[in-house]
C-alpha cells in the first residue's frame, strides 16, 4: 500500500475509533478483561506447575525415569489418581550397575539413582521386643565374668519389667483357654509362657543372652499385640547418592543413615502429622492455624469439631502414663486447673477442652509438663522398626535414623508421601533374591531343626498348618519343650537375632548397592532445559547398548501429580476457548454494527476512488488497534495483579491445596512467556472476528454514496 493510502487508513481508523469511543470502550473493556484473565490465570498456572515441576524433579522423580522396557503398565511413582494401593505392574531392571555405567556417560546426566516404591506396614514397637532389646543392650555393658545372680541383681529393673509383661500375657492366655477351650495355638503359647516364667530361664538368659532373648523375641513377643500399624509408602534408593543428588533433600531430626548402611528415614511431615501422638497433634494443629494462618478455633467449624473429637480419646493418655508420671501430672493439673481434689480421668478431659482463650497457656503446659512424660512418637529416632511388605508378609528390620523433608515443599501433599529406605533393605522387602540372602538362608537351613525353621519363616502358617508335627502338640507338651530347641543355636554360629543385628549395621559397598535389581532409575540432569534433547540422546544410548529399559518423563512418572498438571492445563485451554468465543462474538458484533452504521461512508469512499483493500485495511486496523491497546492494559493489569500476589502470596484455602500451591501460600510470578499467550490469542480472535464484517464492508457498492443521507 502506498504511504498516502496508509496515512488515510490510519487517519480514518483512529478517527472513527475515537468518534465511537463509548462503543469501543465497551468492546475494549471486554478484551481487557479477557487478556487480564488469561495473563493472570496463565501466570498462576505456570507458577503452580513450574513449582510442582521443580518440587517433583528436585525431590523424587528426577527429570526422567528409566524402567523395564517390557513392563505391563506405565511407571507411576505416586500411584494413579485416588488409588494408592493398586500398584501398576512395572517389572524391574535386573542389572542396575550396567545401566548406571552407560547412562552416566552422558554429559548432561548428573546422576542415575536407583529407585523403587512400595507400600509397607510398620508395626509400632512391640513392648516385649523393646524390653528384650533393652536388656540385651544392658547386658553388654556388664563385665562378662559376673555370675548369673550378680547380673540379675544389676538388671533387676529390666528383668522385672519383662516378667511383668510375661505375667500379664500368662494371665490373658489362661483366660483365653478358659473361654475358648484348648486349642493348639493357645496351648503352644501357654507352654512358651510357662517356660519364660521359670527362674532357671532367667539365670540362663543372663549367661547366654543370645538364644534366650531370641526365644523371647520369636515366641513370646508375637503373643503381644503391637501398637497401631502405620502404612508407609517407601522409596527404596541409594540413600547417599539420593542425598547428594536431590537438592531439596534435608535431614530434619536425628541424622542421616550412616553411609552404605541399612536404615530408614521417615518423612518429617508424616512423622509430625500422622505418627505423632494423636492428642498432641491437636495442640500442634491449633497452634499452626493460629500462628500461620491466623485462624482461631471459633473461626473454623471444622477445627472446633476436630478438637472436640480428639479430646474424647483422652483415655489413651491415661494408659500410656507410667504410675509415677500419673501422679506428677495429676498434681500439676490440679494446680493448673484449680481443682485440688480432682482425679486424673476428670482432669484430662477438662484440660483438653480447648478454647481460643485458654489455648496458649494450655499449649505451654502441655509441652512443659505432659509431653515429656508421654510417648510422643510411637517410633523414636534410633528405634529398630520392622517394615512389612503390604499384603505379603515379607518383613525387614531397620533402624530409624532420622526424619527428612524436601525443603520448600515440606507441606505439600506429594512430598510428604514417601519415606526413604536403603536399596538393600528395599530389595529384601520386595523379594529380590540377593546373594547375601541366599547365603543366609542356606546357613539357617543348616542350623535349625525343621520345626524351628518352620517357626522362624512361616510363623503364621505354623499355627494353621495341618502338618502332623504341630498338630500333635497338646497341652501336655507344656512340660516338654525340648531344651535343645532353645540351646540349639547357641552353638559357635551367630544367632539369627545377632546376625540380624550385624546386618543392621553392616556397611555395604557402592558395588553391592549398585549390583542388583531396581524397579526404576531416576535420571537427574545438570541442565533441565535440555530435557527433550537429553532424553533423545539417552534413548539412543539405550538403543545402542540394548539396555532393557524405556524412558518416561517426570510428569508421566509422577503419576497423578503429572495428571493433575495436565488437568489444570486442560482447564486453562477450556478457559482460553471460552474467552476466545466471547471475544469473537463481541468483536464480530461490534464490527458488523460498525459496517452497517458506516454503509454510507464506505460507499462514499468507494465512489471517490478508495479500493476494497483500503476498506479492509480500515476495519482490520481499527480492531487491531483497539485490541492492542486493550490487551496492553489488560496485560499490565495482569502483571500488577500477579506481582501483587507475588508479594503477599495467596493463602491456600484448605490443607488439600498445599499440594497445588507447594505450601500454605502460593507466590505466583509472571514470566515473559505468560504475557504472549493472552494478547496473541485475543489479537488472533479480533482479526478473525473482524474479517467477515470487513469483507462485507468491501462489498458495499459505491452507488450507495449516491443515495446516502447524512
Amino acid at each position: 500500500m502506498d504511504k498516502g493510502v496508509l496515512q488515510l487508513v490510519f487517519q480514518l481508523s483512529i478517527r472513527s475509533l475515537w468518534s465511537h469511543r463509548v462503543k469501543n470502550l465497551v468492546v475494549g473493556s471486554i478484551i481487557f478483561i479477557g487478556v487480564f484473565l488469561l495473563v493472570t490465570a496463565n501466570a498462576m498456572l505456570d507458577s503452580v506447575s513450574r513449582g510442582m515441576e521443580s518440587s517433583i524433579t528436585a525431590s523424587i522423580t528426577g527429570h526422567l525415569q528409566l524402567y523395564d522396557k517390557d513392563a505391563q503398565d506405565q511407571l507411576s511413582m505416586m500411584g494413579m489418581m485416588g488409588n494408592f494401593l493398586s500398584k501398576p505392574h512395572i517389572g524391574h531392571v535386573a542389572d542396575f550397575q550396567t545401566l548406571r555405567n552407560e547412562i552416566e556417560k552422558h554429559p548432561n546426566v548428573k546422576a542415575l539413582i536407583p529407585m523403587g516404591t512400595d507400600t509397607t506396614i510398620v508395626y509400632g514397637g512391640n513392648r516385649i521386643d523393646q524390653a528384650a532389646a533393652e536388656i540385651r543392650q544392658a547386658l553388654k555393658q556388664l563385665p562378662p565374668e559376673l555370675t548369673a545372680q550378680e547380673k540379675q541383681q544389676h538388671l533387676h529393673a529390666h528383668q522385672q519389667h519383662l516378667q511383668d509383661l510375661i505375667d500379664h500375657l500368662h494371665r490373658e492366655y489362661q483366660l483365653i483357654i478358659k473361654f475358648s477351650g484348648k486349642q493348639t495355638k493357645t496351648a503352644l503359647a501357654l507352654a512358651d509362657l510357662k517356660q519364660a516364667r521359670k527362674e532357671t530361664f532367667w539365670q540362663k538368659l543372663m549367661l547366654e543372652p543370645g538364644p534366650n532373648l531370641q526365644f523371647l523375641e520369636t515366641h513370646i513377643a508375637p503373643l503381644m499385640d503391637d501398637e497401631n500399624p502405620v502404612f508407609m509408602e517407601v522409596i527404596g534408593t541409594d540413600l547417599d547418592r539420593f542425598k547428594d543428588t536431590f537438592p531439596r533433600f534435608k535431614i530434619v531430626k536425628g541424622g542421616m543413615v550412616p553411609s552404605g548402611q541399612r536404615g530408614v528415614l521417615v518423612n518429617d511431615t508424616q512423622y509430625e502429622k500422622v505418627i505423632k501422638d494423636r492428642i498432641a497433634r491437636v495442640f500442634d494443629r491449633v497452634w499452626e492455624k493460629r500462628n500461620e494462618e491466623n485462624i482461631l478455633i471459633k473461626d473454623d467449624k471444622e477445627l472446633g469439631q476436630y478438637v472436640e473429637r480428639r479430646a474424647k480419646e483422652y483415655k489413651q493418655w491415661l494408659l500410656s502414663f507410667e504410675s509415677e508420671a500419673r501422679l506428677d501430672i495429676q498434681q500439676a493439673l490440679q494446680t493448673f486447673l484449680n481443682a485440688p481434689e480432682a482425679e486424673l480421668d476428670t482432669l484430662i478431659p477438662e484440660f483438653l477442652a480447648l478454647s481460643d482463650e485458654n489455648f496458649l497457656a494450655r499449649y505451654d503446659f502441655f509441652y512443659t509438663h505432659i509431653a515429656p512424660k508421654l510417648d510422643l512418637y510411637p517410633i523414636d529416632i534410633g528405634d529398630k522398626i520392622t517394615l512389612r511388605k503390604f499384603g505379603e508378609g515379607e518383613s525387614q528390620q531397620v533402624i530409624f535414623y532420622g526424619t527428612y523433608q524436601f525443603e520448600g515443599v515440606e507441606k505439600s501433599g506429594f512430598s510428604a508421601l514417601f519415606h526413604l529406605v536403603d536399596m538393600t533393605t528395599f530389595r529384601d522387602l520386595y523379594g529380590f533374591m540377593t546373594e547375601e540372602k541366599q547365603i543366609e538362608i542356606n546357613k539357617l537351613k543348616k542350623e535349625f531343626s525343621t520345626v524351628e525353621w518352620a517357626r522362624i519363616n512361616v510363623e503364621d502358617e505354623l499355627f494353621s498348618s495341618e502338618e502332623g508335627l504341630i498338630a500333635e502338640i497338646s497341652l501336655e507338651a507344656e512340660k516338654e519343650i525340648p531344651e535343645a530347641e532353645i540351646t540349639l543355636s547357641s552353638s559357635q554360629n551367630l544367632s539369627r537375632a545377632e546376625r540380624q543385628a550385624r546386618r543392621l549395621t553392616k556397611r555395604y559397598s557402592q558395588i553391592e548397592i549398585d549390583q542388583g535389581a531396581v524397579l526404576s532409575a531416576a535420571v537427574v540432569l545438570h541442565d533441565e532445559t535440555q530435557i527433550k534433547k537429553s532424553r533423545k540422546e539417552i534413548e539412543a544410548i539405550i538403543q545402542n547398548k540394548s539396555l532393557p529399559v524405556q524412558v518416561i518423563d517426570w510428569q508421566k512418572a509422577s503419576g497423578y501429580v503429572g495428571q493433575m498438571i495436565s488437568v489444570m492445563k486442560i482447564i486453562l485451554v477450556i478457559f482460553i476457548v471460552f474467552v476466545f468465543l466471547v471475544s469473537m462474538v463481541v468483536v464480530n458484533n461490534a464490527m458488523l454494527m460498525s459496517t452497517i452504521n458506516r454503509y454510507g461512508e464506505i460507499g462514499t469512499l468507494r465512489a471517490i476512488g478508495a479500493g476494497r483493500s483500503v476498506i479492509m485495511g480500515i476495519f482490520l486496523l481499527e480492531s487491531t488497534l483497539l485490541t492492542l491497546v486493550a490487551a496492553f492494559f489488560g496485560a499490565i493489569a495482569g502483571i500488577i495483579t500477579v506481582k501483587y500476589f507475588h508479594a503477599v502470596g495467596i493463602a491456600a484455602p484448605r490443607f488439600e491445596f498445599y499440594f497445588l500451591f507447594g505450601g500454605p501460600r502460593l507466590f505466583p510470578d509472571i514470566d515473559i512467556y505468560d504475557l504472549y499467550l493472552g494478547p496473541l490469542v485475543i489479537l488472533a480472535v479480533s482479526v478473525l472476528a473482524t474479517f467477515y464484517p470487513a469483507l462485507l464492508a468491501t462489498r458495499v457498492p459505491p452507488i450507495i454514496a449516491m443515495s446516502a443521507r447524512e
Binding site: 471517490i608 476512488g609 452507488i703 454514496a705
Partner: protein
C-alpha cells in the same frame, strides 16, 4: 478499448439502456441514450423526478453499469473494466459532488479534501497542503480547515464537497442535484461557484437539477424525459431572465 471520438470528447454514451429489476418485471430507467460531452463544458441535465437523471449520472460516474450500450470516459469503454480499474478511473478522472454532501464526519474539513490526494498517492505533504489550501481558499473556507463537517452549514459543506471533488484534478465533475438540500439562495451560490471554477480553470461539469433557475448559468442543457433525451435547444444568451423563461418552458 474503443474510442472513435476526437480529442475534445470526454464522455460518450452509445445506446445506453438501463433496466432495474423490480421483482419479476424490470423497470426501464434509461431507454437508449446517445450523448457526447466535451471538455470544458458546463452542462445541466434537466428533467422531472423519475426521468432518469440520477441513473444517467451513475452510468457516467462508473458507480453502476448499463444494461446495454457503451459508456466511454476519456476514450475508455468502462463497461469492459474491472472493479479495480473503475475505482482507479473514479479516483483519477472523476470528481463527485453529492446531493447530501457525503463528507466523512470523523475527519476535518482539511482531511476530507486531502483524501483523494492520499488515495492517488505520489504527493508530498507540502504539495498536498498547497493544493488543499488553494482549493479551500477558492471555495471560501480557508478559515475552516480544522472544522468538522457537522460544524458547518449546508452551503459550507457543499463547498467542501466541491473542493474535494476538484482536488484530484478530475477530467469531469459530476453532481447529482447538488443544490437539492440547500435553500435557493445558497443553491444559486453553489452553482455560481461551480461556474466560476469552470470559467477559471476549464473543468468540465455535469450536474442534474430540476431547478429551472440554474439553467441561465450553463453552456448546455440536456433535457431528459422517461429515460430518453429530448432534443437540445441551443442557448443564445446567458441572461438570467431568458434562462428563467426557458426553464419554465422546459419544466413539465
Amino acid at each position: 478499448m474503443e474510442s472513435g471520438q476526437s480529442g475534445s470528447e470526454i464522455v460518450v454514451l452509445k445506446d445506453v439502456v438501463k433496466n432495474y429489476p423490480l421483482g419479476k418485471v424490470s423497470v426501464p430507467a434509461l431507454r437508449g441514450i446517445n450523448l457526447t460531452l466535451h471538455r470544458g463544458e458546463f452542462t445541466a441535465l434537466v428533467g422531472a423526478s423519475g426521468s432518469g437523471k440520477s441513473t444517467l449520472l451513475n452510468m457516467i460516474g462508473c458507480v453502476d453499469l448499463p444494461s446495454e450500450g457503451k459508456v466511454f470516459i476519456d476514450g475508455v469503454d468502462v463497461t469492459q473494466e474491472s472493479d479495480k480499474a473503475l475505482t482507479r478511473l473514479r479516483l483519477h478522472k472523476l470528481g463527485f459532488i453529492f446531493q447530501s454532501f457525503n463528507l466523512v464526519n470523523v475527519l476535518t474539513v482539511y482531511q476530507n479534501v486531502e483524501m483523494p490526494l492520499l488515495l492517488q498517492g505520489g504527493f508530498s505533504a507540502k504539495e498536498r497542503k498547497a493544493r488543499v489550501e488553494k482549493l479551500l481558499n477558492q471555495v471560501g473556507l480557508s478559515s475552516h480547515l480544522k472544522h468538522r463537517p457537522n460544524e458547518l452549514s449546508g452551503g459550507q459543506r457543499q463547498r467542501v464537497s466541491i473542493a474535494r471533488a476538484l482536488v484530484g484534478q478530475p477530467k469531469i465533475v459530476l453532481a447529482d442535484e447538488p443544490t437539492a438540500n440547500l435553500d435557493s439562495r445558497t443553491g444559486k451560490e453553489i452553482i455560481d461557484l461551480m461556474h466560476d471554477i469552470n470559467q477559471s480553470d476549464g473543468t468540465t461539469f455535469l450536474f442534474s437539477t430540476h431547478d429551472q433557475r440554474v439553467v441561465s448559468r450553463v453552456d448546455r442543457v440536456i433535457p431528459i424525459e422517461d429515460g430518453l433525451l429530448l432534443p437540445e435547444e441551443p442557448i443564445e444568451q446567458k441572461s438570467s431572465a431568458q434562462g428563467e423563461t426557458q426553464g419554465v418552458a422546459l419544466s413539465g
